[in-house]
Amino acid sequence: MFVLITGLLLGGTYALIAMGLNLQYGVARIMNLANGEMLVAGGFAAFWVFTAGQVSPVAALMVVAPVAFAVNWLIYRFMLRPLVTRAKTRGALEVDSILATFGLSFAMVGVMTWAFGGGYFNYAYLSERVDIFGSSYGQNRVVAFALATLIAVALWLWLNHTRAGLRLRAVSVNPDAARLVGIDVPAVSALAFGLGGAVTATGGALISMFFTLDASVGVLFTMKALIIVIMGGVGDIRGTVVAALILGIAETFVARVIDPGLTLAAAYVLFLGVLLFRPQGLFGKKPT
């Protein structure tokens, strides 16, 4: 039971890390290597409002999410949009966007180091224990898991049961065909990229409740997010959440039952397995 709940909580954390990237890569077709930095920026924002004004990181989301949406929308509009119009093929766009966002990640590390310094950041919020089935867990992790669930469900409902969501899915499946049926592809892509950034920054704000962050730590989150998105299937929120939970439970199981030293190995074995047997991802559709 301990393994299962700890694994679920960890999976929730992973879902927070990866859902935003899935929107950005799946719909806007931007392989955003600055994803981890955006997450750390969200965490720093939460740290800042918490230490400066004793504002709860959960309440801070009211500000963090819209600001992150605006920033990411602007990044897409002014930095990435020209790459999209210039790119002749999807492959070319991927190479260009990887390079551009790789550069962006350096710039963001620089800005955060300049603004906050290079030290470690953490704070104590809801770090008390809560007992579930006889074992203790951090309240902050449980809250983060609950919000991750909420975000995932909201995104899924929105994507699958609204017209705006339908437009996003149409662009995700085929941008050219989406244009033919009258969808404003650039606007939808910008919306998806902004939304993805907002989700990522939200994840960062929540994760900062129990993670020690520093300006340079973002790349670790980017790596994890990439694995989860690829495992779950590009452009499928459900797949990302399932992959995140599987990874969380598998890592916790290996750590507790076999050896904590093998958690990374377990993650990569799973990743390899998916690549070998379902290269399109757990819920991805085979390319036609």
């Binding site: 954390t13 290079g118 470690y120 074992s135 916790t252 904590p260």
Partner: protein, 402 residues
């Protein structure tokens, strides 16, 4: 193709980021410093390394500079970011020596970067007085790189003293025989756990739980759960900053309350006390200082005044002391001629007055007097075990978490 472009972009960015400061008119000593401003160790360097370096330069310049035979010379600091990358650390040292023509260099931050830079320091003839390198290979290193000096201590001794703290507590009947031993799976963690396991087993302790976890792991609930299930008297973790915080946090959450709770790197950071408050009380870690020592007090005050943050309770003072040693060697010889200063440093009969107390190097260029184990007591991380230093505080058992 893709990868090559990526690398080229990264290299171009790296060159763009490295800043160079301008020259001035008066007689100056150029001091080069390359250490992490980005990368995995930037967080530690921002606490321990950079503020101490800046404080020393600031204080020397404030009193008019270092006294050379021909008058006083102020210090001009040239800074580079080594990105926590050994290759960059080597290149930065080379660049500082050949392009910036610095007179001396601050040794890099961390054991790994110091080892990486040792050959280039030796080859270029710069003294490398390390304040953040802990290793057990001082004799071999000093033989191979005679320009390398060690102030912070030996890993073997630190692991031994940590084990000895347990032996003492057991012999006094305050704890039992059961120890849980965990480590971060990198060179530091593996070396430390190996030594402490040996000492503990030789002293008749039973290792009831032993495991390692990958570098960068902060989800440590399974580790704490496993340790707790083994019901140990003492918990020893050879950990790095992120996991030091995460282990403590999880131990509090899961009510894991051994009588000795030891985490390694970052336990001595002021941020640790700030983060855990009353729960930090009784936690042990590497290093320590004598906080009542007037020299340390003055250092801490000046550190806060200049940097807006306090020093850590371990390597900050050692980093500062390495520069005091360099400065005293320069003033004693009255020259910025590196070869002369190096000869002075190699003369084992010379002693240096530092905030750590007097420092002298032995035949292995090693300082033999340093703090080995510290413990949070009344909001301060006090040294509780040391080699050759006075003022160790009595050890307290860890009370339960609040």
């Amino acid at each position: 193709m893709k990868r090559r472009t990526l690398m080229a972009t990264a290299a171009a960015l790296a060159f763009g980021l490295a800043g160079v400061t301008a020259a001035s008119a008066q007689e100056t000593i150029k001091l080069g410093a390359a250490a992490p401003l980005s990368g995995p160790l930037a967080g530690g360097a921002a606490v321990t390394h950079w503020p101490a370096v800046k404080l020393w330069v600031h204080q020397v310049n404030e009193r008019g500079g270092l006294k050379l035979a021909g008058g006083q010379a102020t210090i001009e600091l040239v800074e580079y970011d080594d990105q926590t990358n050994p290759q960059q650390a080597i290149q930065a040292a080379q660049r500082m020596a050949t392009q910036d023509n610095v007179d001396f260099m601050v040794s890099p931050y961390s054991t790994g970067l110091n080892l990486a830079a040792a050959p280039i320091f030796a080859q270029l003839g710069y003294p490398q007085i390390t304040g953040t390198a802990v290793t057990n290979q001082q004799p071999e290193l000093a033989a191979q790189f005679p320009s390398m000096f060690f102030v912070l201590g030996r890993t073997g001794v630190m692991a031994e003293d940590t084990a000895k703290v347990l032996v003492d507590l057991r012999d006094k009947g305050e704890i039992g025989n059961r120890v849980a031993l965990v480590n971060v799976a990198d060179a530091f963690g593996i070396e430390m756990v190996g030594i402490s396991r040996g000492v503990l087993e030789a002293a008749g302790f039973e290792i009831v739980y032993e495991t390692s976890y990958p570098l960068g792991t902060q989800d440590l609930a399974p580790v704490i759960d496993g340790a707790k299930a083994s019901n140990p008297d003492a918990f020893i973790a050879w950990s790095y900053p992120g996991d030091t915080f995460a282990l403590t946090d999880q131990a509090i959450v899961q009510k894991f309350e051994p009588k000795v709770f030891f985490t390694a790197v970052a336990t001595a950071f002021p941020g640790y006390g700030a983060r855990f408050g009353a729960n930090a009380e009784g936690v042990m870690g590497m290093g320590g200082v004598n906080p009542d020592d007037p020299a340390f007090k003055a250092f801490a005050e000046a550190h806060v005044a200049l940097n807006g943050q306090g020093p850590d309770y371990w390597a900050s003072a050692a980093t500062y002391a390495t520069l005091e040693i360099l400065g005293q060697a320069i003033e004693a010889t009255g020259t910025k001629d590196r070869a002369v200063v190096m000869e002075y440093l190699k003369d084992r009969s010379n002693s240096y007055e530092t905030i750590l107390g007097p420092v002298q190097f032995n035949e292995n260029n090693d300082n033999e007097r340093y703090w080995t184990v510290g413990q949070w007591q009344n909001g301060v991380f006090k040294g509780v075990a040391a080699r050759g230093r006075d003022g160790a505080a009595p050890i307290q058992l860890k009370q339960g978490w609040q």
